[in-house]
Symmetry: C2
Subunit: 77 residues, 2 copies
């Protein structure tokens, strides 16, 4: 449940960024550092064959990559 | 290491928000949902007496609370 919440939490952020076409106040350093952490969690989950860790971190990684794409695309908007 | 990165990632976000005095593009829903998830992780860590989970999530929670405070304080700036 804790993992679900921390994963799902990026949904409103993606939604907000998509609607407003703005990510200026999001830190790229935060997104990249967090994304790297999530990649390591994903590797850990794959290594353990732990489906909940794999699914939660794969979804989070996808949402983070969307935010990074928005961040690069909407720059200065 | 994965946990350290996902915790530390909020440091550049707090730094950016503090310098720019802007959090408009941060989703309050993201902060509150993520914060609730971190609280549950913290409870889980306390229940397991797992110091790494406790420390990582206590630090993350503190950083999230700072961002929520900035979000409420810098609104419309």
């Amino acid at each position: 449940m804790a993992g679900t919440l921390t994963t799902v939490s990026f949904v409103p952020q993606v939604h907000k960024a998509w609607r407003s076409r703005r990510c200026d106040d999001l830190s790229l350093g935060m997104l990249l550092t967090f994304g790297l952490g999530v990649v390591l969690w994903l590797i850990y989950g794959l290594w353990l064959h732990a489906a909940p860790i794999i699914v939660a971190n794969a979804v989070t990684l996808a949402l983070i990559l969307v935010l990074v794409a928005f961040k690069l695309r909407f720059v200065g908007h």
